[in-house]
Symmetry: C2
């Protein structure tokens, strides 16, 4: 069964409001990697990450009565901002449950977008449980961050756009991966529009549950829940809906070190003039520092977000152009 | 006489190679300014600034024999990189005369684009004289940074693009201004496509020769030649060709402090995920901190370049969100 009708329907709702982000490149990065690198700059999306796409796709598909009662979401920050802005655009109220250790900028921006923010301790509390309790008490509709068909269809619009923006026959597409919403969406869109292309999820070392799950064939968990600079993509476990999609369309996952992610941020600063957050830079890091695992002459990497605090960004720039490894 | 045929011809040559840069916005910036701000992100252009447009327009208009002998340019850095890349794309050699105090990244990037770099002392040497001498000795064609009809026509493509990207009836357009190539090009393009719009050159304090020239009616000089963080736009005096265009189309100039330019960079980092250099951020600074001098509900600012060293960028981020004034 084709997934394209659902994906195109979501993109149809998104098109009037979403930013069609550019596919950028730089001769210096191509020379460093020994191949053509195209960077899908989703850090330039509304709210600074791709998450707006899935959130708006989901909210714009809800019936008016549900929307009026309001929505709730749990998020390390980017999904929060996406839901907050989508809700504001559609005239709904949003309640957001965020980890207390999320970057200050993400918490502040979510509040600035008009959402009510409820903080929780990432290491000791269960965000799903908190979300379910609040939804019930207030009659809110939970907008899941990735395990939802409409959210995945919204993220799939990134895939539709890159398929239209790049004419190369054989491309490897690298996607920063937390719960798998973006990666599975991109994979679904490309499977039917660009069957020759290959899609890889990319994760940071120590939080490579998807790579391990693709090897073992079952949903592996991350042993740690925090302590990564890549806060946006350290989801405890890949989704129930997203994992089978990744299994079908992605042969294996790629893993990069934190220093490599920070070095990729410094290179994107210098050569692309983009602000990318650590979790959003892992795909660029993979093609720059683990190119031996890839085969295509053209590699598209999604720069999935740019919501990073000043201290972390300047720390990344201090790493200079190349990682210590 | 219409300038549009020349401008459209230049854009016709540019279109297959230039990056059509996005017009970005952020709710937080709109709230801060009390009006809609649209940022034309020319820092995302090839070589990190709008200068590629004028350079490619000029080189692609040269006859083959001239092009084969090579080109020469004098530049604080952004024009240098634009000419170097345009020359490489068109198979010509490029010699670039740069001030010794230009940001290291600009000098290195110009070399990386295959150009030969000749350094000079900004305070004591005359770059025009050096340029003329080298051109004659080597049979090179000088590509002027702004006082050239083809260069201005190339920069005018920024005006064509924003006219197509924004439908508002009445818009004020703010453009970082050094020698006036970009500002005059944008003004010419908009005068015929968007006659209701107003264009303002923006300069840093202490280097406001254009603002003073528009008042006095003659080409005033800057008293200092260096010592500004806005290295890209501290041209000693506005062009002979560009000044009459600015006189005809721009009523007055705007001036911002260095701290305001740095604060605008910090806000672009936080809310647009863009890397803008100090000289490229003066237009954004003007709408954010001198909005009382503007009248339109929608203001377009050109973020003209993003070639900034790490130290300067982190210094700007350290300024926080608002200037000291």
């Amino acid at each position: 069964m084709s997934n394209l009708p659902l994906i195109h329907a979501a993109y149809g709702r998104l098109k009037p409001v979403v930013r069609k982000t550019p596919l950028l490149s730089a001769p210096f990065l191509d020379a460093l990697a020994g191949r053509k690198i195209l960077v899908k700059a989703e850090c330039l999306q509304h709210t600074g990450s791709f998450k707006f796409r899935g959130a708006y796709a989901a909210l714009s598909n809800m019936d008016a009565a549900k929307l009026k009662r309001g929505v709730i979401a749990y998020s390390s920050g980017n999904h929060a901002q996406g839901v907050a802005l989508a809700a504001r655009m559609l005239g709904a109220s949003a309640t957001i449950i965020m980890p207390a250790d999320a970057p200050v900028s993400k918490i502040e921006n979510t509040k600035a977008l008009g959402a009510e923010v409820v903080l929780y301790a990432r290491a000791t509390e269960d965000r799903d449980e908190i979300g379910a309790r609040l939804s019930e008490a207030r009659g809110l509709t939970l907008v899941k961050p990735f395990d939802d068909a409409q959210v995945i269809a919204g993220q799939a619009s990134v895939g539709l756009e890159i398929a239209a923006q790049c004419e190369a026959d054989m491309v490897e597409v690298l996607v920063p991966c937390g719960g798998g919403g973006l990666t599975s969406g991109v994979a679904l869109a490309l499977a039917e529009t660009r069957p020759n292309w290959r899609v890889y999820p990319v994760e940071p070392e120590g939080f490579d549950d998807v790579a391990r799950s693709l090897v073992s064939g079952k949903r592996e968990k991350n042993t740690r829940r925090d302590g990564s600079v890549c806060d946006a993509i350290i989801t405890p476990v890949v989704g129930e809906i997203t994992f089978p999609i990744l299994q079908k369309h992605c042969a294996s996952g790629l893993v990069v070190s934190e220093d490599e992610a920070l070095a990729a941020m410094a290179l994107a600063f210098a050569h692309l003039k983009l602000v990318i957050e650590p979790g959003g830079a892992v795909a660029l890091a993979a093609v720059l520092f683990h190119g031996e695992k890839l085969r295509a002459d053209t590699v598209i990497v999604v720069a999935s977000g740019g919501n990073v605090d000043v201290d972390m960004f300047c720390r990344a720039l201090g790493k200079g152009a190349l990682p210590q490894s």
